[in-house]
């Protein structure tokens, strides 16, 4: 027989293991490792803190009393999980984007950062959570006592064991829940330990179930017969309780602080919901699979009057299967500890953020507060809160005597915490929900829950029996368990029905009658339309809030895009990461103030920033109201400004377009006369010399050769001109077919330089940056070469430097290959730059043989190749830039 000592040793060993796991996971997460720590599996397993000791032990007890009714507690969450797409997904997205730290924070954030609401939710959560923690303590103590009864040494004392259990859990929660202040409130260590506990409790319950079905009953068939033959063997369920409990458990699943903690706050990745949506219901299904068999076998085997809540332990013990009983004990222990730890963490966050900190800050008014101080204060507040909450649980357990009254406390807590549901769902899906509505609804629900369920259920007669019998002041219609004279409803159903329906009605009516503040409307829009907005973290919580406050204020004053640009630039300056918000350093704040003072005036800007940065008596709400008003005024004047600016811009564009049109039309007019001139000039020479050769007698052989050569040259010039004209017209009409090929830029340039400099002409030294030219090209190489040749020979012809030199350099700029041709001459005068690419446009004295079509052809070619050629002003000499899209190059790879 396992002694109590062995049990305690196993317990301690198990706790040490949990410590180790939590510590290792924290270390791993801190070093950025352990991807599996953020896996959907861990997320799903952490959700199973829903299954507390109340589940582990109580489900069997419940089944032994009321048959299949226990299953409702798991069906509700299943329905919530399968509707994750439009429910939990939104909750998680909002929680992440608003950096929500708890359910109280979420509600308060939605309704314009109302701390009153946060305090209400916190009180509700603590009130509902304390008995629930007591229930866990009770279950651990009870399971100890089962072993103690069997232990001959009999050293066990119930009171002290509860105390040590409570103290141990508090230490664990403090150690891992409040080690550091993370802006996102994530605790990888605790979550991993909880995931491990989830595996343990599932394994334990399955082991007991398998033992019962195959070890005792002898298989599935006999088990089914045994079930049908048992006292709960017939389908019997109260319709009201069935539907109410499904609904209630669904509501509580979303509203419970500990569930919110693991589901939303600890969530690392929204996509984990996808896995949890089926894996968590599966977990619940497995947890409840063997509940009925265990209950039936327990009813059969165990003596009359034994506690069915402990069948999970007592059946293996009675069969002499000590190791299984031990495993089962560890399973129950796991369920209880994980629930208590997470609840304590979640509640302490709420208490410290919404109760302790506001009070502390109020008392500190007037003194300069250092942010470092605040962090230690917050941590201290949380640690003390955890200890206090655990103490509450402990004393509640002692005072209530640990009797059967605790058994129903799970559902009572569910009903209490569900009062948040209307405000939560309304806040998520209805923009018209207001703070007043939420407050009124919560208060109504909260009051009804206390009046109809909590107080009548309490032993010791806080409500005199006469009130329960006849109602307060003898008003029968106000009887706590039969409101409005409707009797005979199950007390639980009665409470849930009345409290939630009146809560919802009060919430809706008060919302419709009240008017929300600007901040509330802003938050309402952000919550309801969270999927339309970005997933960028925003919010006013914690120490990181300053930048966000500044950002939101700046957006309202400067407009969204300029504000974002400003913050982005600042973020880049600070850490090179434009995706994040910048830290509110003094330099940044100063710059921001300057920026804002341009819009609202220096004094106002200073005051506004002072309010946010310097901690303040004026609320953010007031600031936003001011910002709203000034933004409206600014908008009006800037609209006027924008209009006049647009008008003058349009006028300028029109003027420019007109000037260009006139110029182009003049050029088109001149085109024919240009062509005529270009054709007639060489023809003049040809005609003149051919007549000379024909008519003149006695020309010397030298003269004849010379004149024939002139005729020949001029004929060639004519041909070239006609070729160019033809080339241009083909290019312009778009009928050109490209002959694509692959080569490096170096090769194309080599060829172009040698053929451009091959003929006679002035010496031109070409400087190249060869390493930059190793760019593979996929393009029409001949055409590209033609462009290069043209640019090089232009430099050769027109560069007016004493020692003409051309620099060719290639770069990779913004997805384009850019090749610059820069010579050391005087360049092209600005007034001519716009026209150099036009046909027959020639700059200065061009008699060097060109017809003025070269650059026009270049432009057309580059257009066909998907790039462009442009004049690059301000480079000293004449500078042309050829750019080709990089896509041509990638296509080749």
């Amino acid at each position: 027989m396992a002694t109590l000592n062995v049990l305690i040793l196993v317990c301690l060993g198990y706790v040490v293991l949990l410590f180790g796991v939590a510590f290792a996971a924290d270390r791993l997460a801190a070093h950025g490792g352990g991807k599996w720590l953020r896996s959907p599996l861990i997320y799903t397993l952490s959700l199973s803190i829903y299954c507390t000791a109340w589940t582990f032990y109580g489900a069997v007890g419940n089944a032994a009393r009321s048959g299949l009714e226990f299953v409702t507690i798991y069906l509700g969450p299943t329905l919530v999980m399968v509707s994750w797409w439009w429910g939990l997904r939104k909750l998680v997205r909002i929680g992440r984007s608003q950096r929500v730290t708890s359910i109280a924070d979420l509600i308060s954030s939605r309704y314009g950062k109302s701390n009153t609401l946060a305090v209400c939710v916190t009180i509700l959560a603590v009130l509902g959570g304390t008995p629930y923690i007591a229930l866990q303590l009770q279950s651990i103590t009870l399971s100890f006592s089962i072993f103690a009864e069997a232990d001959p040494t009999g050293l066990y004392r119930e009171g002290s064991s509860v105390f040590w259990v409570a103290a141990g859990l508090a230490v664990f929660a403090i150690l891992f829940g409040t080690r550091n202040l993370d802006a996102n409130e994530r605790h990888h260590g605790v979550v991993t330990a909880i995931a491990l506990e989830s595996v343990v409790k599932l394994f334990a319950l399955l082991a007991v179930g398998i033992f019962v079905v195959w070890g005792i009953a002898g298989g599935i068939g006999p088990m089914m017969e045994r079930i049908d033959a048992s006292e709960i063997g017939q389908w019997h369920v109260d319709a009201g309780r069935w539907t109410t409990f499904i609904f209630l458990s669904a509501a509580a699943f979303v509203c419970l602080p500990r569930m919110f903690q693991v589901m939303v706050v600890e969530n690392d990745d929204e996509s984990h919901l996808r896995t949890a949506a089926w894996a968590f219901p599966l977990y619940l299904l497995l947890m409840s699979l063997f509940v009925v068999p265990i209950a039936v076998v327990g009813l059969d085997l165990m003596p009359e009057g034994s506690n069915p809540d402990l069948f999970v332990l007592t059946i293996p013990l009675s069969q002499g299967n000590d190791w299984l009983a031990m495993l089962s004990f560890i399973g129950g222990f796991s369920s209880a500890t994980s629930m208590v730890i997470v609840t304590a963490m979640a509640l302490s966050t709420m208490v410290s953020n919404h109760v302790v900190m506001p009070i502390w800050l109020n008392t500190q008014e007037g003194t300069a507060s250092v942010s470092g101080d605040v962090r230690t204060i917050v941590l201290m507040a949380r640690r003390v809160s955890i200890a206090v909450i655990m103490a509450f649980g402990y004393f509640y357990y002692l005072l209530s005597g640990g009797g059967a009254a605790l058994a129903s406390i799970g559902l009572v807590a569910f009903a209490g915490i569900s009062q948040i549901l209307p405000a939560l769902v309304g806040g998520l899906f209805w923009r018209g929900a207001t703070r007043t509505g939420a407050l009124v609804g919560l208060s109504v629900g909260f009051f009804l829950w206390i009046y109809t369920l909590l107080l009548p259920g309490m032993q010791g007669g806080i409500i005199p029996p006469s009130v329960i019998e006849n109602g307060p002041f003898g008003w029968g219609w106000l009887r706590p368990q039969a409101l409005f004279g409707i009797e005979g409803i199950d007390p639980m159903v009665h409470t849930v029905m009345w409290s939630l329906s009146l809560n919802t009605i009060a919430f809706c009516v008060a919302s419709m009658l009240s008017f929300p503040s600007p901040l509330e409307r802003l938050q309402g829009a952000q919550f309801v339309n969270v999927f339309d907005h970005s997933a960028a973290p925003r919010g006013w919580t914690g120490s990181v809030a300053q930048s966000e406050d500044l950002m939101i204020m700046t957006q309202r004053i400067l407009g969204t895009i300029p504000a974002q640009e400003f913050f982005q630039a600042e973020a880049r300056r600070q850490n090179g990461r434009p995706g994040r918000l910048p830290e509110p350093t003094p330099q940044f704040v100063e710059r921001l103030e300057r920026e804002l003072s341009g819009s609202v005036g220096a004094a106002t800007a200073h005051a506004m920033i002072g309010q946010i940065v310097g901690g303040a008596s004026v609320s953010v709400e007031d600031l936003l109201a001011v910002a709203d008003e000034s933004a409206q005024m600014l908008e009006y004047s800037s609209q006027l400004e924008a209009k006049s600016a647009e008008l003058s811009r349009t006028a300028r564009q029109l003027r420019e377009a007109n000037a260009k049109l006139t110029q182009v039309s003049r050029q088109k007019d001149a085109f024919l006369s240009q062509v005529s001139h270009e054709l007639r000039t060489p023809m003049t020479s040809i005609r003149a010399f051919s007549e000379i050769m024909r008519d003149t007698d006695g020309l010397s052989a030298d003269e004849q050769t010379r004149y024939a050569a002139i005729i020949h040259d001029e004929a060639l010039r004519l041909t070239r001109l006609l070729d160019d004209l033809l080339d241009l017209s083909v290019l312009e009409s778009g009928q050109v077919s490209l002959n694509m090929g692959d080569a490096t830029l170096t090769e194309v340039l080599d060829r172009a330089v040698s053929s451009a400099l091959a003929g006679e002409g002035r010496a031109l030294s070409v400087r190249r940056v060869r390493p930059s030219e190793r760019i593979p090209l996929h393009t029409d190489l001949d055409r590209l070469g033609q462009v290069f040749i043209n640019l090089i020979s232009n430099a050769q012809k027109y560069c007016d430097a004493a020692e003409p030199a051309l620099t060719i350099s290639a770069h990779d700029v913004g997805g384009q290959v850019v090749i610059d041709f820069i010579d050391n001459g005087d360049g092209i005068p600005p007034e001519a730059q716009a026209m150099v690419f036009e046909k027959f446009a020639r700059v200065g004295s061009d008699k060097a043989g060109g017809a003025g079509l070269g650059l026009a052809i270049c432009r057309e070619i580059m257009h066909r190749l998907g790039g462009e050629v442009a004049y690059l002003p301000g480079q000293g000499g004449a500078a042309f830039r050829v750019s080709l899209p990089l896509a041509y190059r990638q296509a080749a790879q």
Partner: protein, 106 residues
């Protein structure tokens, strides 16, 4: 006959568009299905309330059958949710391929 042949000859310009539209249509119906799933679940789980009860005087349903029904419904919900989860993952992967937000917002 010829017209049809021509249509099949140039799938590159026509098909992808059709394909995408069908995809987004499927996507929307999938989301509809996900919305309806909890209602299906609620309906299935409300059904046992109509079963004969011992209080009705009629022969009550054996608990084993009731268990079988409820766990089967449960399993069905899990299965549909699993299928939708995988479909949603493919959807998300496709959406990620089409950038839609500004860099700042990311």
């Amino acid at each position: 006959m010829t017209a049809r042949g021509e249509g099949e000859d140039r799938p590159s310009s026509v098909r992808p568009l059709l394909f995408l539209e069908r995809q987004s249509y499927r996507r929307r119906r999938l989301v509809d299905a996900a919305r309806l799933l909890p209602f299906l679940g609620a309906g299935l789980l409300a059904l046992p309330l109509l079963w004969p009860d011992e209080t009705d005087g009629a022969e009550a349903l054996p608990l084993s059958s009731a268990m079988f029904y409820i766990f089967a419904c449960w399993g069905l919900l899990i299965l549909i949710s699993l299928v939708f989860g995988f479909a949603a993952r493919r959807m998300a992967a496709r959406e990620k391929a089409e950038p839609e937000t500004e860099p700042w917002q990311r």
